[in-house]
Amino acid sequence: MNCAQAREMLDAFLTGELSAAEVKELRGHLDSCEECREELEETKRFTTTMMDILRPLKPRERFSQKVTERTVRTPGLRRLVGWIALGAAGVVALAASVALLAGEEPAARLGPCMGEVQLFRYSLGEWRRAELRPELYAGERLVTPPGSRATVHFPGATVRLGENGIVQLSAEGLSLGMGRLYVDARTETGAAVRAGSTVVRATQARLEVEVRHDGSVRVSAYEGTADVKSGPGSFRLREGRAVEFVPGRIPRKEEEIKEHLPPWLDEATLEEKMRRAGELVAQLEQKDAHRAYGELLELGGAALPALLRAAESPDDASTPLVLKALGKLGGPPAEPAVRRRLLSDDERVFRAACEALAGLGVKRTPSDFADVLADPERPAAVRAEAAGWLGRVRAEAETPTLLLSLACGEPLVEIAAAEALVGLGSKAGGLALANMLADAREEVRKRAHEALVRGYGTTLPADRDAWSDWLTQR
């Protein structure tokens, strides 16, 4: 054995993973070679130090398992709940419930609903939208987008789910993933609600359970008492009291509640808000549109029905603001209406639709933008806007469409495509812009120069050769 062979074995020797024969041979070499003995000590020291430094970064035990769990659930779950920013505890609550299989007997019946209540079933590896029907089965999930709410009758209770809510039905009761749930359990059978690691059971009682975005859970007993179990502890919540659980903290002290009902159940206020939203949407065409827009946003989900109606009518001066508001408030129900506006030939409407889609958290599909860019029938301003979005969403896969657009004959589109290419790190974009600096039209030269300065953050003069040389040397 020579030194090189011996040194390759030192680390495995230190971990005790050499065969008996290899150990014998290595020891024989070490006995006769001082340099390799020193190398053994140095290997030991270096490896130990490196491990000490990097050990805190070691992925936790459940790293791979968590990735697997998320890849199993994500396709449906993300689409379903991403837009209401489901808190960590909510995910855990839902995860615990996913395993429950749909039973054969209906677990509950749907009562009166308002807005676009949605029903989902888990099948073939993802959550799929099902048609809303009176019978609900264990394992199914109800979702209330902004502006909607649902009533569900169980054998022992009637519950009402407020807007932005998700509940999952199970044989034992129901899990609240997000939102506010009012439970009227004035029966002997009563009800059980799971929210994160908190379980609430009650008979002859009326209560509210709320799961917030940050994963905290609040339980309020409006009538009767509730048995609350959270983590290892359990206690009885008295009538007229509320308690809050924040992950990782000691439960907050109980506080008194004065109302007889949760305020969000006040139907009269909601109807008034919806009526007001109708008025405000009509004002979006007027001069002081921004004031109306601000007030609309404050109305939250109650503004959604009026906005969706407006989004169905033909383009007018109010359309960009309608789309903007939908982008902020809409959630998935607004997506089809917004996406349709990508067909608009009005540049302002097209841009507002792109921005709204981004606001909805909809997976932006670069191919939508690429189709617009490649369509010679669409106005140049719209195609240029689409090219800009391809750059913004970093659509590397659409680079060929952008390259083709560099010679489409429309200066506005060519400049936007070239700028997008610069953003994607393609030199072709920069060189195309540099060439445009020699264009006969002053407007083209000016825009190309501005795009170059924006793209590269350097202020060379508007001279083709100067930029070409600079780009070539980069």
Partner: protein, 171 residues
């Protein structure tokens, strides 16, 4: 099974094949994220997100054998997003990556070591991350990488030599 084969099988519905890629690259992905954000738990979250995103977009990967660089590009993008959001929400300056508390010195050293590993040739990065960050033994590394223990000894030894050169005076 090489990365390309794992990707093809994962696309065919074989979840274990994707699991093998997670096992192979998780340490490297966490280290890459850490080098960029300087926070241990955020780095792990970013690495996890990157795997989930990679899985969801797997069919877009044109060259399956380039899974590693594609994954690490996702990690880099997510780290950038994380940084931008943090900066927006806290007004953090970019140089605060290493923090200022008592652990700042260790964090700086950790970032320097991560940088050194990242500068190694690809083959050595994975073994260095597995050996030093995860503390894996040869038997486990051999099963994750599909390499013989003898071949691994050469690779670890070479990675060790290169790193000692790069980190002289620091480690």
């Amino acid at each position: 099974m090489d990365d390309g084969e794992c990707v093809r099988r994962a696309l065919g519905g074989d979840r274990d094949a994707f699991g093998a890629l997670v096992e192979k690259y998780k340490a490297l992905a966490v280290m890459y994220a850490f080098k960029r954000v300087g926070r241990i738990f955020d780095a792990e979250d970013i690495a996890q997100d990157a795997f989930v995103r990679a899985f969801l977009a797997l069919e877009k990967l044109r060259e399956p054998k380039k899974f590693r660089s594609w994954l690490l590009a996702i990690v880099a993008n997510l780290s950038r997003d994380w940084y931008r959001k943090k900066k927006e929400s806290l007004g953090l300056e970019l140089d605060e990556r290493a923090g200022k508390g008592a652990g700042a010195r260790e964090n700086e050293l950790r970032i320097a070591v991560a940088e050194a590993i990242e500068s190694l040739p690809e083959n050595y990065q994975v073994v260095a991350a597995m050996r030093y960050l995860e503390g894996l033994r040869y038997a486990e590394m051999s099963s994750r990488l599909g390499l013989s223990e003898v071949a691994l000894r050469k690779r670890v030894h070479r990675a060790n030599q290169l790193l000692r050169g790069k980190l002289r005076g620091l480690v």
